[in-house]
């Protein structure tokens, strides 16, 4: 089977190159898309220039291990054909479990594997990049029990912005392609998805990008997850270069947002906040699939239903507006530039959030550590912050509530 797989991988690439007159990885729309494990209940999208028809739900396997193989089986039955992993997930146990699962019943031929390699230490040090990349790819292939992965991504846990065009990494990636061990090259980016996606698209070297964005900007300081508005331009750039787009972290703060949505058409009976958030990003132009972390059958069944949720374009736009006006602070920091007094609005609302979620002592400690001139009672009540806030948060009231709770 290993030999057949290898031949299949290389033959697909070489054959396409001959027929299309292009290298694998830059297949044009004229080539027929490659289809695997398609089931009527699932929807599929062409993953950019890879020409792979991937399920709109992709299995994110951070938590996957041999003790959770039934989840993979159910996803496979449900038509999921793209499984995403990383060499570092569970110290390799995720890849090991996927390898075991796909080695049965011809499944490897019916699924696409995406995995990631962590060479950030070498990139940061500026040495050993090529060697490490080649070694880690070999280790991943062994765990995955295959001679060829469909997509190999550079794993970016913070940001890859300085390394998108690192020649040693790209040389390793291209050599792995030439050796038939990798079909397509990608990267995953959490912190600066818009900037990195634009760089990746402009380089012309990447076939796929896995980027983090969701309904609203995230709340993790230092990482600055992007919202959809920030991604618009980057997604257009990616589309021009036909880069496949996988979205991660799409259900960020799902419950917070949807708890405030009262529109009956959007609170469709039986759909969870997670389902609607995943469905929402699938409606964003340029997005091909969304990666979902799942640890039990309830999650699996929910997520398998996502592509089938009838959410028309105008409803998507409406959901976007509702989210933007939900009053849920996304901690984007726009208010900071608007406040003439320099009040630490973003931090104060974040601390208040901790307080409301039960972390009272921590929240008070953090608030007390703020300079007095940046605490909520320094607010001059001018309202400029509210005018600037893209989410319509009633900031002045929230600041008063926060101060009462935290001071």
């Amino acid at each position: 089977m290993e030999r057949r797989q290898f031949l299949r991988c290389t033959a697909a690439g070489v054959g396409a190159a001959v027929l299309g007159g292009r290298l694998p990885g830059v297949l044009g729309a004229e080539s027929p898309p490659e289809r695997r494990n398609e089931r009527p209940s699932m929807k599929y999208a062409r993953l950019g220039r890879t020409n792979l028809m991937v399920s709109q739900i992709c299995h994110g396997s951070l938590h996957t291990n041999k003790e959770r193989l039934p989840l993979l089986a159910r996803l496979y039955e449900g038509g999921v054909n793209l499984i995403d992993s990383s060499e570092i997930y569970g110290g390799g146990r995720s890849e090991e479990a996927i390898g075991e699962f796909l080695s049965q019943d011809n499944r490897r031929q019916n699924a696409f594997i995406a995995t990631k390699m962590d060479i950030r230490a070498q990139l940061k040090a500026g040495s050993g990049v090529y060697e490490r990349a080649m070694a880690r790819a070999a280790a991943s292939l062994k765990r995955l029990r295959t001679d060829c992965v469909d997509i190999l991504m550079l794993h970016g846990c913070s940001t890859l912005i300085d390394w998108v065009t690192n020649e040693e990494w790209l040389r390793a990636a291209e050599d792995l392609k030439k050796q038939g061990k990798v079909r397509f090259i990608g990267l995953s980016e959490h912190a600066k998805p818009a900037e990195v996606l634009k760089l990746a698209a402009a380089s012309g070297r990447y076939d796929v990008a896995m980027v983090a964005f969701s309904l609203i900007k995230g709340d993790w300081p230092g990482l600055g997850r992007a919202d959809i508005q920030a991604m618009d331009e980057a997604l257009k750039a990616a589309k021009e270069k036909d880069v496949g787009i996988i979205v991660m972290k799409a259900a960020l703060r799902a419950e917070d947002i949807l708890a405030k949505v009262s529109e009956p058409k959007l609170r469709k009976a039986g759909f969870s906040a997670y389902q609607l958030c995943y469905r929402y990003v699938l409606g964003v132009p340029g997005v091909h699939t969304v990666v979902c972390g799942m640890t039990n059958m309830t999650h699996v069944e929910e997520n398998l239903a996502v592509p089938g949720i009838d959410l028309a374009a105008r409803q998507v736009d409406h959901l976007r507006r509702v989210a933007a006006a939900s009053g849920v602070c996304g901690f984007c920091g726009t208010c900071l530039g608007a406040c003439p007094k320099g009040v630490a609005v973003q931090d104060i609302l974040r601390f208040h959030g901790y307080y409301l979620h039960g972390h009272r002592e921590e929240a008070r400690a953090e608030y007390a550590a703020l300079e007095p001139r940046r605490q909520a009672n320094a607010c001059g009540d001018c309202g400029r912050c509210e005018g600037a806030c893209p989410a319509g948060v009633p900031i002045r009231r929230r600041l008063r509530e926060a101060h009462d709770a935290l001071a």
Binding site: C157, P221, H357
Partner: protein
């Protein structure tokens, strides 16, 4: 090793936090999880972090300015469950699922060699540290005699001792022995640990040999079943093949019965199950990926075997498991 340690009382040392394993559960349960006796500790850590990483926490003390021939290159940084994402991003979900409480980290350098990074995960209990180590330590790492249990891979040295799980990055191939020495130095600086988790004693220790280092603990969603919680498992060699023995603990016997019924319902979709004369509601099932499955309830435990085939050695393991579960509250 687990099999040779003195039998502790059958107390479940693992924190109840382990019930919340996936991002969804973690988010949903976040409100109640961290508020506890740990709050003052976390607050202290946060204050220390706010003050620029001043010394004070246990992790800070471990990450002393000098450790052997290594010198710290930067102030100690601290992270809690809420902001661990800033340090390890999506992997934080996995760590938090195992009961993570705090992380302290710092860079160290030996002479002019490349810098290494030391991460100290405070897990609250030794059982949680063990559980994370066994699910996160590099799969191909060689066992090392560091801490209660250690392992060394190309990129990092790691060990657990007491409630701490420690990672030491290996900055270069030439530095590996020195990184191991640093890890050993750190382990020796830690107080004696609590030893192996009590839940391992639930696993059969007689008859067919247990595969070394195969014991694992999954806080939730064993086999993807939401009701199979706090599951300890290990692999056993039965003749020429391997089988996995497991025990899941529910909060009540009624909940355990539900968990067993849920597993049976899942297997029924694959093939008709058959009765198994063991425990309450015992059955035998078949799954294309799990192989033969034997499962039964004993009190608030669900016990069983994956890869079961009717043969004396397999039945003896189940009998041993049943006996152990029967004697455990």
């Amino acid at each position: 090793m687990p099999g040779g340690m003195p039998a502790p009382p059958f107390a479940w040392a693992c924190s109840s936090r382990m019930e919340e394993t996936c991002p969804r559960q973690r988010r949903r349960g976040h409100a109640t999880r961290v508020v506890s006796a740990t709050t003052p500790i976390l607050a202290a850590i946060l204050l220390a972090a706010a003050a620029g990483g001043c010394a004070g926490s246990a992790g800070d003390q471990l990450l002393a300015p000098v450790r052997g021939e290594w010198k710290r290159t930067e102030p100690v940084k601290s992270f809690g469950p809420r902001n661990l994402y800033e340090y390890i991003d999506g992997e934080a979900d996995l760590v938090i699922a195992f009961g993570f409480k705090a992380l302290t980290t710092a860079g160290y350098r030996r002479a002019t060699e490349p810098e290494t990074t030391v991460d100290v995960y405070e897990m609250g209990t030794a059982a949680d540290a063990f559980a994370l180590f066994r699910s996160n330590a590099n799969l191909e790492a060689e066992p090392l005699d560091i801490g209660t249990e250690g392992a060394g891979a190309e990129a990092r040295i790691e060990f657990w001792k007491g409630p701490k799980y420690v990672l030491v990055s290996n900055p270069s191939a030439a530095e590996r022995d020195h990184a191991i020495a640093l890890a050993r130095e750190l382990a020796q600086a830690l107080p004696p640990g609590e030893g192996w988790p009590a839940y391992i004693e639930l696993l059969p220790a007689t008859g067919s040999p247990r595969r070394p280092r195969s014991e694992k603990f999954l806080p939730a969603d064993f086999l993807g079943q939401p009701l199979l919680k706090r599951t300890v498992s290990a692999r056993y060699k039965i003749g020429s093949r391997e089988a996995t023995v497991f025990a899941s603990r529910s909060d009540t016997p009624e909940e355990a019965a539900q968990a067993l019924a849920s597993l049976q319902a899942y297997l029924q979709k694959k093939r008709e199950t058959k009765p198994l004369a063991r425990g309450d509601g015992g059955f035998l099932g078949e799954d294309p990926d799990l192989g033969g499955v034997a499962a039964f309830r004993r009190g608030r435990f669900v016990g069983g075997m994956l890869g079961y085939a009717a043969e004396p050695a397999a039945d003896a393991l189940l009998a041993d498991l049943d006996k152990r579960l029967s004697g455990t509250k």
